[in-house]
């Protein structure tokens, strides 16, 4: 038995303790490590450690041909693969001045929005789990599974699709695509409503999330937050509206805005975004034109002209930017990615300071980071 020293604690000063959380922790959504300085139950300081999933994607891009880089972008944000592919192919298209057929653009938007729904459903599921609710996660995973089944029938893979091509798509969608999407959308809508009803206004859930890690609009802009985290603080900024790309300017959809900028707003905003994405997909299905989807370049080796280009797009997690520098060869000279999760993660210290240890899990969860994108 260990002897407890007699002079410990009776009337000594409060001691700060160092608490290591992660990298193997179920609530860090990957291999993320936080070193928390705690004073009792209160967090005094936090040092985040990233890089456990670093694969050097940006460097690897320099060694791959332009069409092979798409596979690397699939693996950055592995929850929203289509959105990532979309931004990259748009970057190369902009560099080469390529026109993309209407049909490909619509199919891209449909798939991207479906991917956004799938990503947000995963967020709702894990947010529930972080706060201690098990059932909604089951419903959400069921809905996500349906979307992934649809992706499998379209692209042949459930996650790493490699379906978008520079100037078009790999192949046309299956014949019953529109019917399939409509079917899936109805079911997904029901799933979301079900878990929304169970979780969103649940008293325990509200108590765990309301007024936790409040972020003012000024702070959110200063920290470079984008996407749902920024909009939850009340800033009306969505790349799809602010600088419409692809065919997003043809759809009628709202950008939900949060009121308080707390964790619950960040959660509920994503629930609302699922409904908005469903609206976009429905409109896109109605407008879906017929035509060709193949790239006008054929299958020849791509050699974009020398130059540089920056393209951004709205990912489920925020604004993804791709800076592409070409020297006229068949491989990119440099690719720099502005990953939304990484930039959102920079506000973690600000949010965690002076909060409780018990809240740290939901605060990190509400940021919705994907470590594949943070570390690249």
């Amino acid at each position: 038995m260990t002897q407890i020293p007699e002079n410990i604690m009776p009337n000594s000063e409060p001691v700060e303790m160092l608490l290591n959380m992660g990298p193997q922790h179920p609530s860090t959504h990957g291999v993320f490590r936080m070193v928390l300085w705690v004073d009792g139950e209160k967090i005094v300081d936090v040092v985040p450690h990233i890089g456990y999933l670093h694969r050097g994607s940006e460097k690897l891009c320099e060694g791959e041909q332009y069409n092979q880089v798409i596979t690397l972008f699939d693996r950055m944000d592995y929850i929203a693969n289509f959105n990532n592919e979309h931004v990259y192919v748009r970057a190369v298209e902009k560099l080469m001045g390529l026109e993309v057929s209407e049909r490909s653009e619509y199919i891209r938007v449909i798939l991207c929005e479906l991917n956004r729904i799938a990503s947000h459903m995963l967020f709702i599921a894990t947010m529930g789990l972080d706060a201690g609710a098990m059932t909604p996660s089951m419903f959400c995973f069921r809905g996500r599974e349906r979307i992934q089944g649809l992706f499998e029938s379209v692209s042949g893979a459930r996650m790493m699709h490699n379906y978008f091509r520079i100037g078009g798509l790999k192949e046309d969608v299956p014949d019953d695509f529109v019917h399939q999407v409509r079917e899936v959308l109805d079911l997904v809508k029901k799933d979301t409503e079900e878990s929304d009803k169970l979780l969103s206004f649940n008293e325990i859930f509200l108590a765990r999330l309301k007024n936790i890690a409040v972020m003012s609009a000024e702070d959110a802009i200063d920290f470079g937050l984008t996407g749902p985290c920024l909009r939850a603080s009340g800033v009306d900024y969505d790349v799809r509206k602010a600088a419409p790309y692809s065919v997003y300017d043809r759809f009628d959809f709202d950008v939900p805005i949060g009121l308080d900028g707390d964790c619950w707003d960040r959660y509920y905003l994503r629930v609302q975004e699922v409904y908005q994405s469903i609206r976009i997909v429905e409109q896109a299905l109605e407008q879906l034109p017929s035509g060709d989807v193949a790239s006008s370049l054929g299958r020849r080796l791509l050699r974009p002209p020398a130059g540089e280009v920056y393209v951004r797009g709205e990912n489920p997690r925020g604004e993804l930017g791709v800076y592409l520098n070409s020297d006229g060869t068949d491989r990119p000279y440099r690719i720099k990615v502005r990953p939304p999760s990484f930039c959102n993660l920079s506000s973690l210290k600000h949010m965690l300071k002076d909060s409780w240890i018990a809240d740290s899990v939901v605060i990190l969860g509400a940021l919705d980071i994907v470590l594949g994108e943070v570390d690249r």
């Binding site: 059932t135 893979a157 299956p174 079900e194």
Partner: protein, 188 residues
Amino acid sequence: MFNSLKGLVVTLVSTMNGLRSPVTRQYPNSGNLLKKHLEPTPVKDRFMGFPALTWDEEINEPYCTSCMVCIRGCPTQCMSAVMKDNPLYEQEKSSRRKIVDSFEINLNRCILCGICVEVCNFDAIVMTHEHEMSTSSRNGDRMNLPALLELGHKFQKETDWIPPTKRAKVVKEDATEVSKASADAEAS
């Protein structure tokens, strides 16, 4: 008080809804509690499993001529191939001058992107529906030519595979016939 009752009602409704047949399946069986099938969950038509080489039934030789285009297109460099002169070409049985001598795919390295299938000019490589190929040794999934051809042959039999270039031709002919027919109809 009222809120907690409301919560209970929501949970109860959800529980009743949850009593429908299960969505999850026990791997590798599919079906539900009452009806069990022993075959695994089917994959979709376009599913991209591990790549394999195809076999030309008409001439009895592989489609592959080891032209290395897939090897250059592969993002992970997981393949290698060696070419040889085709003995059947000398006997004038085949139109392929060169034929594959040896071919190796390291399936542990393969990321199932499907680029090799896309760039192939000879319909020689396909993404099969095979996905349950785990082994316990480090190089256990290094597939050589006979193994790849066997995999491909299995896929061809299962899916009644038609070479994509042939399929494209058939579709084109159909389209021209249809347009001809419609033109005739318009003329009459």
